[in-house]
């Protein structure tokens, strides 16, 4: 049995941020993640926006969620810099089409100012046209927030995990927590990869947060699964908008958003609806509603330019009245068991939430003594496509696998893929999220056989054992002649 002082359950943006924060201290820490890499739950399926939540009508200074999101706003950029994660302050334009819309935003701006958010300003029609030439003619102005940014939440989670590991945290992927039993001074956690004994548990299990808590009767909160839809547009239309642009819905189900990503593609999103947890499906209707709504903002957005679409879940604390509260607290029933669930915007709130969890751990009796040798820096995998010609030349001279382009749409080289595998990618999706191989317009039609071969070679497994996302997700079921010769 593996033993640790603190066990973090969940390797999304929150879990990894907490792991990295804990790695500053002299504490034995382990993190278990049921997927085969970090950030594969809610962290991977959203609009990738770093926001302060002041765009929500429920925004109130007194809510803890508000404080955590707001504190995180100033922490996120330096964090991304330390961890070599893309971060781009694109700014936000909240569009209105009439004076009623303006009035709502005026109220919101006043409320944000009470909370100390003062950067908002109103932009009138002509200036809006200059900032966003493709915006709908009907828009008469916008509330502009220059602080809103975009990042890559999956890469952020991976970076946080890698940096935590550098500083001594034990990371265990592909390990699903199946049961938790309270024992003398701690917990016996049964996972699909064996039992773990620990003294403190941080439950950051994302969409399973309530289920994990229920294993110990520590579920003194209710969360609701809410599903959203995201579609990614081809880079050739990346000029359609320069900022994150959205409009407040005039009727329910009319909300809409379009934003640049850190990779040049735009993404579009939809109103969120209550849905059955785990039903990660997309429907024709979701695509249509999203397009219709987003076309009210930017008429030139076209279904033709969608290269991929997916759905993602958030756990809302209070579905009926909005998303204004979160769960960041020790269980009332079980000492030394801390539940962490932000809902929206979880990624944005991660840095301050991780700090908050340190306070809670102290309250629960954990001694946190700083490590003198904590190293806050982590280097990303070299992004070959971003290098200058001179740098490319030097890198290829050192290792010619960087001159072998495997994914042609995103210009990802064999060198980058091998580095991703060295750092822990062991599935096709792992390689994809760490390097972008397969994320381009051809959606891996070209690079799939090549990436399978590289994974097979580097991990010394058969191409038949290479999976899309772990478990039973093999891509190639048989070898040539296996079926005709009746071996199957």
């Amino acid at each position: 049995m593996f033993q640790t002082e603190v066990l973090i359950i969940g390797g999304g943006a929150l879990g990894t941020a907490i792991a990295r924060e804990l790695s500053r201290y002299k504490v034995e820490t382990a993190l278990v993640e049921k997927e085969f890499d970090f950030g594969w739950g809610s962290t991977k399926a959203n609009m990738c926006i770093v926001c302060q939540g002041a765009d929500g009508l429920e925004f109130r200074k007194e809510y803890r969620r508000t404080r955590l999101v707001q504190e995180s706003m100033s922490l996120m950029e330096p964090l991304c810099a330390e961890l070599d994660v893309p971060f781009n302050r694109v700014g936000e334009l909240a569009i209105f089409f009439n004076n009623e819309g303006r009035a709502k935003y005026e109220k919101m701006k006043a409320r944000a100012e009470i909370s100390g958010i003062t950067a908002h300003k109103f932009i009138e029609r002509d200036e809006l046209r200059q900032m966003e030439p493709n915006i709908a003619k009907e828009a008469i102005g916008a509330l502009y927030d220059p602080n809103i940014a975009v990042t890559d939440p999956v890469r952020l989670s991976i970076a946080l995990a890698e940096n935590a590991e550098q500083n001594g945290v034990k990371l265990i992927t592909g390990a699903e927590v199946q049961d938790i039993v309270k024992v003398a001074d701690g917990f016996d956690v049964k996972t699909s990869q064996g039992n773990i004994y620990c003294e403190f548990i941080i439950n950051a299990a994302g969409t399973s947060v309530d289920r994990v808590a229920a294993m110990l009767n520590a579920d003194d909160f209710v969360v609701y699964p809410i599903r959203g839809y995201v579609a990614i547009l081809d880079r050739k239309v990346s000029d359609l908008v320069n900022h994150e642009v959205h409009a407040r819905p005039e009727a329910p189900g009319e909300s809409n958003i379009i934003t640049p990503t850190v990779y040049g593609n735009l993404s579009i999103g939809t109103p969120m609806t209550l849905a059955k947890r785990g039903e990660h499906l997309t429907t024709r209707e979701m695509t249509q509603i999203t397009l219709n709504n987003v076309q009210r903002l930017v008429p030139d957005v076209s279904e033709r330019d969608i290269i991929n679409s997916f759905s993602g879940f958030l756990m809302f604390r209070n579905w009926e009245v909005g998303w204004h509260e979160c769960v960041v607290s020790p269980s009332r029933n079980v000492p030394r068991f801390i539940n962490v669930s932000i809902g929206y915007p979880g990624v944005s709130a991660a840095p301050a939430t991780a700090r908050e969890v340190m306070k809670l751990l102290r309250q629960e009796g954990l001694k946190l003594e700083e490590k003198p040798d904590f190293n806050p820096y982590r280097k990303a995998i070299t992004d070959f496509s971003e290098l200058s010609d001179q740098e490319k030349q030097e890198l290829i001279a050192k290792d010619n696998r960087y001159g072998h382009v495997v994914c042609r749409c995103e210009t990802v080289t064999e060198g980058e893929i091998i580095e991703a595998i060295k750092r822990g990618a062991n599935t096709l999706d792992g390689v994809k999220f760490r390097t972008r191989a397969g994320m381009g317009r051809c959606q891996s039609g070209f690079c799939l056989p090549r990436v399978i071969n590289i994974l097979s070679r580097e991990l010394s497994i058969s191409p038949k054992e290479v999976t899309k996302k772990g478990g039973e997700s093999q891509q190639l079921l048989f070898e040539s002649k296996e079926l005709v010769e009746g071996r199957q």
Partner: protein, 418 residues
């Protein structure tokens, strides 16, 4: 290899690139370079192990690798310089070409002329927006073809194929021969998306169920695909409620269209035709940017490789002439798509040279008359979008064009019965 004083640089060493390079060399270009991202020349023909290639070009029935081999050999004999495992990353309007290779690092060329021969790619699931989950076991037909014919793996044994493009139908037969069960080929249109000969030889001869006017409306399975729901569609291709049927499968192949690969063309500012997805070209296969030519599937998706070779030879020859300083007559007559015509390539002609028109229709129709302005008029028994029409016009034909009209309308209409 001499990377200075390049006369013609050809991007891509598939059938289009090889034909263009050989012809450029034969037409007098001294230094011809082909840049290819794969490990060998010949492009996707290597994975097309079936026959039916070269029936027109060589008057022989060859397999894909055989067809490719003839061109690869000739390219070597003619003294073409091939840069393999070399990825072109940028082309400018001033004809600067940047590329990366493991062997040479970063390469910058300044050729006198460029031929675009990047071919096309398959439409993927994301672009279709098929509803449902995202499990393993969903491939484009061409990727599956590579697994079976090059890598030596069979993706699964219960297969559904969405779309009836040529590669899809060929893979239906191929997988059947490999011992898999193809449960259905599902096509949204009332007719197949590929050649009639493939429908007969690949589906009918192997008794593979072909479901016309149907589409996949849902994908099931969390880790590996477990089933698809298919539905009948109405005349506007919308699924009809109540016709849903679940088919169990472990693999879904997509054969739902090919898209010319023009990201590099766009970087150079080459103007594209929204219908073909490829560059707008004149009869010499020159694009909107002087000195940049294009041939094969990068211009428009062909159904026969023989035509790819011919069209690209034209591009290669024109590029060699451009490199030697010859000025071509400008294409001033526009060819305009009229009734039931999807596109015509080339989009413009000069009216002074013999020219071959490649024409695709919008919809299947029987007993029609194809009219090319007042230049030509031809009765046809049947036209189908998947079967490209090829019309040769001589300078004599073109003399009939009224000078100064600047436009020839091509249309295809049902023949009037007397």
């Amino acid at each position: 290899m001499k990377l200075q004083d390049v006369d013609v640089a050809v991007i891509g060493a598939g059938p289009a690139g090889l034909a263009a390079a050989i012809k450029a060399k034969e037409s007098g270009a001294q230094n011809v370079i082909v840049m290819e991202r794969a490990e060998q020349m010949g492009g996707l023909l290597h994975q097309c192990v079936h026959n039916g290639f070269g029936l027109f070009y060589f008057n022989e029935d060859l397999t894909g690798p055989e067809y490719a081999h003839r061109f690869v050999e000739k390219a070597t004999d003619t003294g073409i310089n091939g840069l393999l495992e070399t990825m072109v990353t940028e082309i400018t309007a001033e004809r600067q070409v940047k590329a990366i290779s493991g062997e040479a690092g970063c390469i910058t060329l300044k050729p006198k002329a460029i031929v675009l021969a990047m071919g096309c790619r398959e439409r993927a699931r994301g672009a279709l927006g098929i509803p449902g989950t995202r499990p393993a076991g969903i491939f484009t037909a061409g990727t599956a073809q590579r697994f079976v014919n090059v890598e030596g793996f069979i993706p699964g044994k219960k297969i559904v194929i969405l779309g009836s493009g040529d590669i899809g139908m060929i893979m239906a037969r191929r997988l059947t021969l490999e011992g898999a069960n193809v449960e259905a080929v599902v096509e949204i249109l009332p007719y197949t998306g590929g050649l009639i000969r493939n429908e007969v030889q690949c589906l009918h001869d192997f008794e593979i169920p072909l479901l016309l006017r149907h589409t996949v409306t849902q994908i099931h399975g969390e880790q590996r695909i477990e089933a698809v729901t298919i539905s009948e569609v109405d005349n506007s291709a919308r699924p009809i409620a109540g016709t849903e049927r679940k088919i169990e499968c472990d693999t879904l192949l997509l054969s739902v269209g090919l898209i010319p690969e023009n990201e590099l063309s766009l970087m150079a500012g080459v103007e594209l035709d929204p219908i073909t997805g490829g560059p707008i070209v004149d009869e010499m296969r020159q694009t909107s940017i002087p000195g940049i030519f294009a041939g094969g599937n990068v211009v428009h998706v062909h159904d026969l490789v023989d035509n790819v070779s011919w069209e690209s030879e034209l591009a290669g020859e024109s590029a060699a002439r451009f490199a030697s300083g010859v000025k071509e007559p400008k294409g001033e007559i526009r060819l305009k798509a009229g009734n039931n015509i999807r596109y015509i390539v080339p989009q413009t002609i000069s009216g002074q040279n013999a020219v071959t028109l490649y024409i695709r229709v919008e919809e299947m129709e029987e007993d029609v008359r194809l009219q090319i302005g007042d230049v030509m008029n031809k009765g046809l028994r049947i036209v189908k979008p998947s079967e490209m029409l090829k019309i040769e016009l001589s300078p004599e034909h073109l003399k009939k064009t009224k000078k100064g009209t600047g436009e020839i309308v091509v249309k295809c209409e049902r023949r009037q019965r007397q």
